[in-house]
C-alpha cells in the first residue's frame, strides 16, 4: 500500500515537472543565423514599406508577401519589384526554417510559419492588404 502511494507521487511529480518545464520554455530567436536574417529583412523593409502602403504588395496567408497589383508600383521600381519580393520571401522562408531548427524541432516549421502569418497580418498598418480565406482584403 505504502509503495503504491509512493509510486503514485513519483508519477505525479514527474508529470508536473515536465509540463512546468515546457510551459516556461521560450523559443530562442537570438541565434546568429536568425539575427542575420532579421537584419536583412529590416534593411529591405525600407524599400518595401511604400509598396505595402500603395497596395502594390500584400501579405499572404502563408507568411510571405506577393505582388498584389503591379500597376500600383511606380515606374522607377517596376523593374526590381519581383526580385525584391522574391528576396524577402527567401528570407522569410529561411527565418521560419531557422527558428524551428534552432530550437531543435525541424518539424515545427509549419506551425511557426502559421504563427507568423497571423502576427504579420495582425500588426499590419491600416490600408495594407493581406490575404484571408476569400482573397485580398484591406486592413
Amino acid at each position: 500500500m505504502q509503495k503504491l502511494i509512493m509510486s503514485f507521487f513519483v508519477i505525479l511529480t514527474t508529470l508536473f515537472a515536465t509540463s512546468w518545464a515546457n510551459a516556461a520554455a521560450d523559443l530562442d530567436v537570438n541565434t546568429p543565423a536568425i539575427s542575420a536574417i532579421k537584419s536583412s529583412m529590416q534593411a529591405r523593409h525600407a524599400q518595401l514599406a511604400p509598396h505595402y502602403a500603395s497596395g502594390a504588395v500584400g501579405l499572404t496567408k502563408d507568411g510571405l508577401i506577393a505582388v498584389r497589383d503591379a500597376t500600383a508600383v511606380p515606374l522607377k521600381d517596376r523593374q526590381g519589384i519581383n526580385a525584391l519580393v522574391a528576396a524577402e520571401n527567401s528570407d522569410r522562408n529561411a527565418l521560419y526554417k531557422e527558428i524551428a531548427a534552432g530550437n531543435g524541432h525541424v518539424e515545427w516549421e509549419g506551425e511557426i510559419r502559421n504563427t507568423f502569418a497571423q502576427r504579420w497580418i495582425q500588426k499590419a498598418q491600416a490600408g495594407w492588404w493581406y490575404q484571408d480565406a476569400n482573397g485580398w482584403t484591406k486592413r
Partner: protein, 60 residues
C-alpha cells in the same frame, strides 16, 4: 503483481514524456514572432514610428 505494477508505472511515465514533448509552444511562438516583427518593421510598442518627422509650427 508487484512486477506488473512497476511496469505499469514505468510505461505511464514514458507515455507522459512523449506526450508532453511533442506539444508546440504556441504562446512562446507568438511572443517570439511579435518580437521579430517589431524589429523588422521598426514598431515601438506595436505602433510604427513615422519615418518623416512632422514640422512643428513655432510657438510664440
Amino acid at each position: 503483481m508487484k512486477k506488473s505494477l512497476s511496469v505499469l508505472v514505468l510505461m505511464s511515465m514514458l507515455a507522459a514524456c512523449v506526450t508532453i514533448n511533442i506539444y508546440f509552444p504556441a504562446a512562446a511562438a507568438e511572443k517570439a514572432a511579435d518580437k521579430i516583427i517589431d524589429d523588422v518593421w521598426q514598431l515601438k510598442d506595436g505602433v510604427p514610428v513615422p519615418a518623416v518627422k512632422q514640422e512643428v509650427p513655432p510657438t510664440k
